[in-house]
């Protein structure tokens, strides 16, 4: 039972990370109907910016942990958002009206570029970091221990999700975004600057991915230039599982994937956990192609 609870908490915190990345996929897919293949790399860049910010703060002598965490969060969200914006501007916007494969190939190109860019600049070796937030919260007389980092991950994710939902449902920006998702042409006719909204979608997705990157850095304490690929694929799986285009679906899908991975690693060993994830993806797509919360797509001729 204690072991079960332990894995449950691990799974939820891991799932929160996947969910944060998945939101970027699902928003972009919802609005321009493409798989933003470079999103995993954006997350990787977020992790690197967080690491660099932490080291820079250390060099400046700022070691008070809460302040350091806030600055890391802000810096990685800001800088990574600029990367997200630039990628959209350079590689996707000119291809808005092209055949569907063109942006996908261009996204794969960007993904390869960013991976090698970080590898050349920051080195190929994995970057270890000493725990910033050590310590555990023990529950049930010490049988279950939750590290503060995982707790912080869950809390920050919930807070971000709340804010983000408010942004999408309550503000004019969110309204414009939902309008573009439904019908870009009509939204443009009604005075919505579609290009700007799409740019902002990429910016928001990148900022959330940056948070995920920082969380991974804090939890696992080691990153390298290659983490983006697998996390990206899994987050996309989460987005599809939840129903692509649906924001709560992305979060739910992320948590489900995280739980599957945690329990599989906990009970069956970690070797085959990726196979389990992909198998789930295939099964979901075969039996419920619209995902858990997705609306059925109407095929138009």
């Amino acid at each position: 039972m204690e072991y079960f609870l332990q894995q449950l908490i691990n799974g939820i915190s891991l799932g929160a990370i996947y969910g944060l990345i998945a939101i970027g996929y699902t928003m972009v897919y919802g609005i321009i109907g493409m798989i933003n293949f470079a999103h995993g790399e954006i997350y990787m860049i977020g992790a690197f910016v967080a690491l660099i910010t932490f080291l820079a703060l250390g060099a400046l002598g700022i070691t008070w942990v809460p302040l350091a965490l806030v600055v890391m969060l802000a810096a990685s969200m800001l800088f990574t958002a600029v990367y997200g914006w630039t990628v959209e501007r350079i590689a996707y916007r000119p291809l808005r009206n092209s055949p569907k494969l063109a942006p996908l190939i261009s996204a794969i190109g960007i993904s390869i570029f960013l991976q090698n860019y970080v590898q050349i600049l920051q080195g190929a070796r994995s970057k270890p970091l000493q725990p910033i937030l050590p310590g555990n919260l023990t529950l049930m007389d010490g049988a279950v221990s939750v590290s503060y980092v995982r707790l912080a991950t869950i809390i920050i994710t919930v807070a971000l999700m709340y804010g983000f939902t408010q942004l999408i449902t309550r503000t004019s920006l969110g309204r414009a975004q939902r309008a573009c998702e439904q019908d870009k042409k009509m939204a443009a006719l009604l005075g919505v600057d579609v290009d700007r909204i799409i740019s902002l979608t990429f910016v928001m997705g990148a900022a959330l991915a940056a948070v995920a990157g920082m969380m991974v850095l804090l939890i696992y304490g080691v990153i390298d230039f290659y983490i983006g690929f697998l996390a990206g694929v899994k987050a996309f799986t989460a987005a599809v599982l939840g129903g692509i285009g649906s924001l709560p679906g992305a979060m739910l899908g992320g948590v489900v994937i995280g739980l599957i991975e945690a329990f599989w690693s906990g009970y069956m060993g970690s070797e085959w956990k990726d196979v389990a994830t992909f198998t789930i993806l295939v099964l979901v797509l075969i039996f419920r192609p619209t995902g858990l919360l997705g609306r059925p797509e109407i095929e138009k001729v």
Partner: protein
């Protein structure tokens, strides 16, 4: 800023241009400060930081000048920009920069802007609209397509004759084999992507199945390459059917991501099942191919058997095997090509092209979509399997490292960059994607960087691929009286106009 002093006609809105360039430079600053300006370095005490502000400043400056140049081209001053950009490129070659990276950026950036300016000079005079320019490129593509009728045989003859020429040393032959392997994979994937219109992101899985089939069959049962080649093809086709069957109902992007998942599953199985596949260490000592099972390529063959050089009364040379491998892959690739060209005219091939154009219309005409797609999937998988077992026997060593997603992406890039469905496009794209990086080996680290950027640039320039061409192979009323079965090029120009017109609206 040098551009300012050279010429400043009144027609150019300097404040606006400068503002635009400044904004771009600011974005570049934000991009470069964390990752370029601050480097993580390993220190004995843990991770440390190194600062490289000079590189940031230089990068921002270059971006500013580059944007300025592009704005000037837009405002009708391409000649000035061309001269300056060419000068910058030359300076990159001659002057020592603080780091290698900056030199590359300077040279590449200067060259790109110079090319852009040169294009602007050429096309700017004729006052063509973008659509007309696209149309012209489409027409060139159509001409190349047309030319492929006589260019193809010539290329085959050149490829056949190449090992006989004194040029053919070990290194060039190896590059030739590499290129031909990718051409074969590209042609194989073209069946799925170009003809049937299914986006397969996990083609490398079948390549892996083929390679491992041969390696394992040879390892456990001691079968020879010539027995294993068809077996590997069959096994790969079988795995194609197995993987394809559940997912072929899916459409578009979902299909793509599931094939990607399958590709990863196969790779993970290869890594984790180490009792059987050798795990991450792979399999080494894979037997080399013999001369059709008759003679081996060895200096001193075992008692009672004949070596290749003895059989033909030649001096022993290690090059014989390489040349043989070269011809082997050439023949295999040509088999794929001929198969594709032929099957396009059969009902199956026509059904594929029809499916690519309109899924629903096909279903309403009574075409069994699943079976047709499955056939495309299995056949492409089979060719992938052939290529895989060739790869295994050429390398003599395989490991899961060789079958990562990036390989799938490269093969897909070859197909899409070449122009989906175009056979000669695959060859051109392979020369670009595989050949160019091979030629610039000394750039080592920057190769993949340039590769990624190149993919993006080609897509931006020609979103339908270099030799885009999507005429149906068969037309109802023939083309220009040549008859229905004629080559595709006759109406390609007209088709190109249609495409360009469609884009212009």
């Amino acid at each position: 800023m040098t551009a300012l002093s050279v010429s400043s006609p009144r027609s150019i809105a300097w404040p606006a241009i400068l503002k635009e360039a400044a904004i771009t430079a600011f974005v570049a600053l934000l991009l470069t400060v964390p990752l370029v300006g601050l480097r993580t370095v390993d220190r004995p005490t843990g991770l440390g930081l190194e600062t490289r502000w000079a590189e940031v400043a230089a990068a921002v400056g270059l971006v500013f000048l580059g944007r300025l140049g592009l704005c000037l081209i837009r405002d009708g001053q391409p000649t000035v920009v061309l001269v300056l950009a060419a000068a910058a490129t030359a300076a990159g070659f001659l002057i020592q920069m603080p780091t290698e990276a900056l030199r590359v950026i300077l040279i590449a950036g200067g060259a790109i802007i110079a090319i852009r300016a040169a294009i602007a000079i050429r096309t700017g005079r004729s006052k063509l609209s973008q659509a007309e320019r696209d149309q012209r490129m489409d027409r060139i593509a159509a001409k190349v397509q047309h030319a492929s009728r006589w260019l193809g045989p010539i290329a085959v003859v050149v490829a056949l004759a190449f090992p006989m020429t004194p040029l053919a040393d070990r290194q060039l032959l190896d590059i030739g084999i590499l290129l031909l392997t990718y051409i074969m994979l590209g042609w194989g994937l073209n069946i799925v992507v170009g003809l049937a219109g299914l986006l397969d992101l996990g083609y490398v899985a079948f390549y892996a199945v083929g390679a491992y089939s041969y390696a394992l069959l040879a390892h456990y049962f001691g079968l020879s390459f010539w027995v294993c080649l068809p077996l590997a093809g069959l096994l790969a086709a079988g795995s194609g059917v197995l993987l394809g069957f559940p997912v072929l109902r899916l459409r578009g992007d979902y299909f793509a991501i599931v094939t990607l998942g399958f590709g990863e599953i196969i790779r993970i199985i290869l890594v984790n099942w180490y009792q059987f596949t050798g795990g991450p260490n792979g399999i080494s000592g894979i037997p080399r191919p013999s001369f059709f099972g008759v003679a081996d390529f060895v200096r001193s063959p075992p008692e009672g058997t004949l070596a290749f050089h003895e059989m033909f009364g030649l001096e022993f040379s290690p090059l014989h095997r390489i040349v043989f491998l070269y011809y082997l892959i050439l023949v295999l690739a040509l088999v794929v090509n001929v198969f594709t060209l032929r099957i396009r005219k059969l009902p199956l091939g026509r059904a594929w092209e029809a499916l690519r154009e309109d899924d629903i219309a096909c279903a309403s005409l009574g075409i069994n979509r699943t079976n047709m797609k499955l056939a495309a999937f299995a056949i492409a998988a089979m060719f992938g399997g052939f290529a895989g077992s060739f790869f295994a026997t050429r390398q003599g060593f395989i490991s899961p490292e060789s079958f990562t997603f990036i390989e799938s992406a490269i093969i897909l890039a070859i197909v899409v960059l070449g122009g989906m469905g175009s056979q000669i496009g695959v060859v051109v794209a392979t020369l670009l994607v595989i050949g160019l990086p091979e030629a610039f080996r000394e750039l080592a680290d920057y190769r993949m960087l340039a590769f990624g950027m190149g993919m993006v640039l080609i897509m931006l320039w020609r979103p339908r691929g270099l030799l885009a061409h999507r005429d149906p192979t068969i037309l109802l009323y023939g083309r220009n009286g040549k008859g229905a079965g004629g080559a595709a090029a006759g109406t390609a120009a007209a088709g190109g106009q249609g495409i360009a017109g469609g884009r212009a609206k």
